[in-house]
């Protein structure tokens, strides 16, 4: 099978890879680039564990073909912290125990980051609906929603 050469920007760095045309962006991230922070929970866009930001938009990387990434910008969980400095959401999730098993956590953090970039002052309902595509089976969402709301408040306070 002929492979396609794709050049794209991942977490700010130009990256290129060869892929089969039917491979998804998630496949390439995980299996070819060893960026396994994005998780495959369903492969059908129903769980959000593979959430990435593609050209500024939150998407499921399992529903993006890898060749579509040509010339685009991809942000993943691996790019969320700046070196050793955690993103405020990451720090708050730790402090507020907003994770248990942690497998949905990367997707939720990426989704929450995208929300706060668009809406710095979301209501609880807005957070819940924004994150409705990110399934978590451990927490009942309670601590996750609180952590997102508190981070938003902190960021507004700091701004």
């Amino acid at each position: 099978m002929s492979r396609i050469h794709v050049t794209t920007t991942i977490n700010g760095e130009e990256t290129d890879f060869l892929c089969e045309p039917q491979q998804t962006l998630l496949d390439v991230l995980r299996d070819d680039l060893d960026m396994t922070g994005s998780k495959e929970g369903c492969g059908s866009g129903d769980c959000g564990a593979c959430s990435v930001i593609l050209d500024g938009r939150l998407v499921c990387s399992c529903l993006v073909l890898a060749p579509e990434a040509e010339g685009r910008s991809v942000e993943t969980i691996e790019g969320m912290a700046e070196g050793d400095k955690l993103h405020p959401l990451q720090q708050k999730f730790l402090e507020m125990a907003a994770l248990q098993c942690g497998v949905c956590t990367p997707g939720i953090l990426v989704a929450a980051k995208n929300l706060l970039e668009r809406n710095p002052d979301p209501t609880e309902e807005e957070v819940r609906y924004w994150l409705a595509g990110n399934l978590c089976r451990c927490t009942g969402y309670d601590k996750i929603i609180r952590a997102v709301m508190e981070t938003a408040a902190d960021l507004r306070g700091a701004a």
Binding site: G43, L94, R128, G140, I144
Partner: protein, 747 residues
Amino acid sequence: MPKDEYQSRAFNIVGTRPIRPDGIDKVTGKARYGADMTAPGMLWGAILRSPHAHARIKSIDTSEAEAMKGVKAVITRADFPKLDLDPGMADILDNSMAGEKALYDGHAVAAVAASSKSLAYAALDAIKVEYEVLPHVVDVDLAMKPDAPVIHAARQDETVPEGLSENVTSRSQYGHGDPEEGFKKADLVIERHFTTAATHQGYIEPNACLAQMGADGQGDLFVCTQGHYMVRDTCAEILGLEAGKLRVTASEIGGGFGGKTHIWMEPVALMLSMKSGKPVKLVLTRDEVFRATGPTSSSSTDIKIGMTKDGKITAATGTFRLQSGAYPGATAFLSAMCGFAPYDLEHVRTEGLEVMTNRPKAAAYRAPGSPMAAYAVESVIDELCQKLDLDPLETRLKNAAREGTKSAYGPTYPAIGLEATLKAAQEHPHWTAPLGENQGRGVACGFWFNFGGNTSVNLMVNPDGTVSLSEGNPDIGGSRASMSMMAAEELGIPLDQVRCVISDTGSLGLNDVTDGSRVTFAVGLATIKAARHAIEIMKTRAAMKWGIEPEAVDWVDGAAVPAGPNAGKFPPMSIKEIAAIAANTGGPIAGHCEANAEGAGVSFATHMVDTEVDPETGAVKVLRYTVFQDAGKAIHPDYVEGQFQGGAAQGIGWALNEEYIHDEDGRLLNAGFLDYRIPVASDLPMIEPVILEIPNPGHPYGVRGVGETSIVPPLAAIANSVSRGAGVRLTSLPMSPPKIRAAVKAG
């Protein structure tokens, strides 16, 4: 009877809420889960599954797949060694790879390993299987009928009464007194039939492993599981390997809830690696997770309870029928034990019937057997309260089991926390908050035994005085944090001086599966004992240095001190100082504990929920939810709360929308997260956790397991709130909108 371990004391670290030690890896994406590991030269595995609910496998032609370029191994059941396994082990093998018959839609019939994922799937398409489709049965009541299609013949034990299908494999009975006499004393007796659908644990991480078998018979397996020792021992036995030659490492685990306490496909990965001579990664798809890894049992239950008009239960009986899927071994016996466990009853009888069906092998799911039993029992108690105009909390308090009560399943309770949860519920503002139109408030109680079991812990004092703690239970919800906290507490050192790791099967003694809410209790107990062991050694080393008897040394705030003025006058010797002289005082310092822990304290909870029903559509909105549960002692309260909240959320899903839906051919119609509807964030309110702490006599700090009880009350609590809000009593789960709408219409 376990000895009384509990000692009241003040804590420095236990009970605080530090950041968990594995947290940073999990928020940055570095943590490696089952599917995140690779090996040089690795192949991709894939499994071909039966499209039929029940079929004889007439032939499997793998020749075309084997001839494909890049396909390195194709296996069927014929590739597995023919060993004389006991029936339980033979079932696990048969469930991993079908033998003569495919027993459910999704049953594995062949597998491949190939150099890429896409090739592996293409190879599956090239395998030709000829089936003879057989009659099937998926419903538990139909499967019990004498003329039902039989899944396996001759698996009944001697407890099963005559006249039932061979699918009924076992009957268990519990209770005491004479219920018929008791019912005569009741002012009102209600008898109801209930059903619950099969629900899946719904962990977000699909089952995955990486298997690597060497030509010398030594192997390595990296796997997401709740119990890697169980995986080692089971795989070794059914593959004819020696357990010591197979090293199993538990990956980070993306949820399990009981579903990963079983073997599903690990022997297949190992066999593919054996046959190909290469490492093989096998990751299930979500479709496979739903079709081929066990959900919990669906159930059919009859409950009869008598009550006086002032609210005393005079007698109770229950029959619980649980389907076990394609093999014997459901948890109806646990339903029969748990259903009436919260109450002090003079007359009580229960029976549990285990029933095979053409469904995936039923698996443990958080307090297996208890939620469906509590749903039925707590619904009938609530209906009695409604009809007798009694307060549902007061009535439960009146009948509540307490210290000294002979439980419905036999043992007499030591100190327990049910009353405390009920009283906390009465005093909580939630109980008296106003309700609007079509809104109702429901309460229900729940019980789980909790478990101890085989446990090994090593605690090494490093040369610099830091501590390495090794335990052998996958960390499913923060247990490395709580073990580190207990070790630091016991040693009297700062938390950041302890690092806890989950050891592989080659580096630590046996540990039972992470189940039965056992880890904080049993591993915690072993951690404390390992720390005490290390302290004894350190006291000896200090004594040696000081030239006094070890008995004359105490351990205070992380240092050895002379036990009293008579012991001599020496400044405290810290753990760091003792570690520094270890080489000259007898060598490395390590404490350890290997035990089969007993004394896991039973656990009770009371849940309170407000719902609003849309009478025109039957939709139920959960407005407010409060969990009251006895934790014995909350080591890390955040993660105790998390267990309360998570269990409640799963219970809400079970109550309202989750179910396995089969077509008339027995095929699963909703094998995905779109149509198997676990609650999403916008479906739920905040879930308020109220932790009660009634110390467990069997643990030094009073710990009780907390992981499972929280899923027990929600089913009935929601049903009771719907009944009180919309005036309809649903006796079948899930209470999906069409059912509620039909009930509202029928009045």
